[in-house]
């Protein structure tokens, strides 16, 4: 029925545009919520969710109880849902949509779907219509007949779907999230809202998770907590660590930092009724002998880096690592401190025939243009102004000529630099350079440009 016809019948009919993206987002949040039942939740857009409850059902008192709980909670949230549990994805899909929703007993998969219409096989409408013209309407009509003509007429999909529904072909559920290596969870009859309680719970869960990791000889590198809010929203927080970790107190502390910095993002609202701690990435971790001589500084440092990383992000805690290039701005790379240290971490030796250091202490993010006056085009500046302040050069050393790397693509585009270490009349030292070689790269001396690149102590 068109909108015009519908409005003719009900003039007050509200009309809302379809918004498939918002629908999908909503489905995602429902899927997040369904994580409480199993870590293996797959999306079946536009309107379905697939949950692999293998091995989970007993936690809720059996499949029937799980199903009742799930549907009841969804109804409480104002959703209409039909759910079915079956041996195969296809059968559950068919029964939930076209059959009498509920539990298909083990081994009765075939019997339960044979009487359902062919649309229950997840095939497109053309196929359904085509089969209907042939007088085939229910699934039983397909199973009784030889398969080859169906494959020839409708393609492989129809038979694949049939086999999948009957359990003769495999069909995995694609989980939305990576399945954690180990996890522990805690449910509350009364939701908790205080941060201290959440952290306490995380630590408590850590005590359950750690023995699992310990048995495998592993430690976690990436932990996640999922906070299931009473109203259905789910917050997920992750922390990475520099080295494998299985110390509940430290896990709790790291999440505390993370929560502190997130602040309002994790609004507890009416409280969380379930908390799950999972180790998403694990690594081998051998027990280490603690020294008798004194506290282990390496571990303490790793812990500090983890805490700073949990608060500000692990990529913000960096360690300068020398690179094999002579271009000043690329001579060191700040790599995350938790990453393994590269073997060849040594600075190239710098020939130094001066009492001052030849490289500045602070390097500007990018060279800043300065207005400089030099006596001769090739000489050092006599004075220059940087950030509106005039500096008189008392002494200068240089030039140190640094040519750009000719083997790179931008050959000829980047100009050679002549660096000078200059000391102003008040004693401040700066690293300035002139861009381009006069007479070779640059024809006219008046277009020579000067930059300030760094500051010496």
């Amino acid at each position: 029925m068109g909108i015009a016809d519908a409005r003719a019948m009900y003039p007050s009919l509200p009309v809302v545009d379809a918004d498939p993206e918002a629908d999908l987002r909503f489905l995602e949040t429902v899927a997040d919520w369904c994580d409480r039942y199993t870590p293996l939740v797959g999306l079946d857009a536009p309107d379905g969710l697939l949950l692999d409850v293998t091995g989970c059902a007993h936690l809720f008192g059996g499949e029937a109880a799980l199903l009742r709980d799930l549907v009841a909670r969804l109804v409480q949230q104002g959703l209409r849902a039909r759910a079915a549990v079956a041996d195969t994805v296809g059968a559950a899909w068919a029964v939930a949509r076209y059959g009498k929703a509920g539990i298909v007993p083990r081994g009765e998969t075939g019997a339960s779907i044979l009487s359902l219409p062919i649309a229950a096989l997840r095939v497109d409408t053309e196929t359904v219509a085509g089969l209907k013209t042939a007088g085939l309407t229910c699934i039983a009509d397909l199973t009784e007949r030889p398969r080859a003509p169906f494959a020839a007429r409708f393609g492989k999909t129809l038979l694949l779907r049939l086999d999948q529904a009957l359990g003769q072909a495999d069909e995995p559920i694609m989980p939305r999230m990576p399945v954690p290596a180990a996890m522990a969870e805690q449910r509350f009859p009364e939701p908790i809202a205080r941060e201290a309680d959440v952290i306490g719970t995380v630590e408590h869960l850590g005590h359950q998770l750690v023995p699992v990791l310990e048995r495998r000889g592993e430690g976690g590198r990436l932990f996640q907590i999922a906070l299931f809010r009473a109203d259905g929203a789910v917050h997920r927080l992750e922390i990475g660590t520099g080295s494998p970790l299985r110390d509940p107190a430290r896990i709790g502390k790291l999440f505390k930092e993370r929560l502190a910095v997130l602040g309002d993002v994790c609004d507890p609202g009416f409280g969380y009724d379930m908390v799950r701690l999972s180790a998403l990435v694990t690594e081998r971790m051998d027990p280490a002998q603690t020294g008798l001589a004194g506290p282990d500084h390496a571990e303490e440092l790793a812990h500090l880096i983890d805490r700073l990383g949990a608060r500000f992000g692990l990529i913000r805690v960096t360690r300068p690592v020398p690179q094999d290039t002579h271009i000043p701005e690329f001579a060191v790379l700040n790599v995350p401190a938790h990453a393994p240290r590269p073997a060849s971490a040594a600075l190239p030796p710098v020939a130094q025939d001066t009492l001052s250091t030849v490289r500045p202490l602070r390097l500007l993010v990018r060279p800043e243009p300065v207005d400089a006056v030099a006596q001769v085009p090739d000489g050092p500046p006599v004075r220059f102004s940087w950030r509106q302040v005039m500096h008189q050069v008392a002494r200068a050393e240089g030039p140190e000529r640094i040519a750009m790397e000719w083997w790179r693509d931008d050959r000829g585009k980047k100009l050679t630099r002549d660096y000078f270490r200059v000391e102003s009349d008040v004693g401040a030292r700066m690293w300035v350079y002139r861009e381009g070689l006069y007479d070779r790269e640059i024809e006219r001396p008046e277009v020579l440009r000067w930059y300030l690149h760094g500051l010496f102590a």
């Binding site: 500084h297 805490r307 913000r316 805690v317 001066t354 001052s356 250091t357 202490l361 000391e423």
Partner: protein, 267 residues
């Protein structure tokens, strides 16, 4: 009351004060770790800058920011004698304003690159939080934290927290050595043990007329343990040691020496 008679009263008052605030406790010789500078400065400081305390540095003019961070770097280089780490904390804004710490330069200056950790944060409060955490950590010898402009986030309360954290971080080796570098001098009260204003001083040129060793003009404005003062000292980055500076321009170099041009040194 004459001087000798006042001494017992003074001692008693000091003990009462130490009961209220442990940071005023009289020091025990040999127990405390000190980072020494140069003889005349150490005399005023009682042997050197104390570990387990906060020290504040500010440039006397914006142009001396690099010298200020250079002095802090030199102190950190002296502090991290054993295999301990140095953490340098600064905001993104500070790095944009005065440039970020540059590895090769720091390495040449005496701070070994493999001991340096750099933390870049977004806000000044984060600098203070991270500094407090790091000061408590015994694996970190020295924490350098930079605050842009006058660093109004580091008020009396905040610096007090840092000073206490530094005290907690004290261990048998050097640790809990907090250096707060403000980009601009401030008159705000602070709980730091010492407050310095740093400027670069013109160096004594080498025999070829090139740049000499880096010189710092130190003004000690606040010192909990003694008088303030002003000195000019030199940093020898090969020896990683401070030296008293020989005064500049006692005899100015001869004007016309035809044997070389003033700028001949390359590289």
């Amino acid at each position: 009351m004459d001087h000798a008679a006042a001494q017992p009263t003074l001692n008693q008052l000091r003990q009462t004060l130490a009961g209220i605030d442990p940071s005023h406790a009289p020091r025990l010789a040999g127990v405390e770790r000190l980072v020494d500078i140069a003889a005349p400065v150490d005399a005023v400081l009682g042997g050197g800058l104390a570990c387990g305390a906060l020290h504040e540095f500010a440039p006397s003019a914006p142009v001396h920011l690099a010298a200020t961070s250079g002095f802090a770097t030199a102190l950190a280089a002296r502090a991290s004698g054993d295999r301990k780490q140095i953490l340098w904390i600064l905001t993104d804004y500070a790095a944009g304003e005065g440039g970020g710490p540059y590895g090769p330069g720091l390495d040449l200056f005496g701070m070994a690159l493999e001991r340096l950790l750099i933390l870049r944060v977004a806000k000044p409060v984060d600098v203070l939080w991270a500094m407090e955490e790091a000061l408590r950590c015994r694996a970190v010898a020295c924490v350098i934290a930079e605050l842009t402009s006058d660093g109004s986030a580091a008020d009396l309360t905040a610096t007090r927290r840092l000073a206490l954290a530094a005290r907690e971080g004290v261990s048998a080796q050097i640790s809990g050595f907090g250096l707060l570098v403000r980009h601009k001098a401030t008159v705000m009260p602070s709980a730091a043990s010492t407050r310095w204003e740093i400027a670069a001083a013109p160096s004594r040129p080498d025999v070829y007329g090139g740049l000499g060793r880096v010189r710092f003009d130190l003004s000690l404005h606040k010192n909990r343990r003694g008088p303030s003062g002003r000195w000019i000292i030199e940093w020898d980055h090969h020896e990683r040691a401070f030296q008293q500076a020989v005064p500049v321009a006692v005899a100015s170099p001869a004007f016309n020496r035809p044997d070389r041009a003033p700028w001949v040194r390359a590289g």
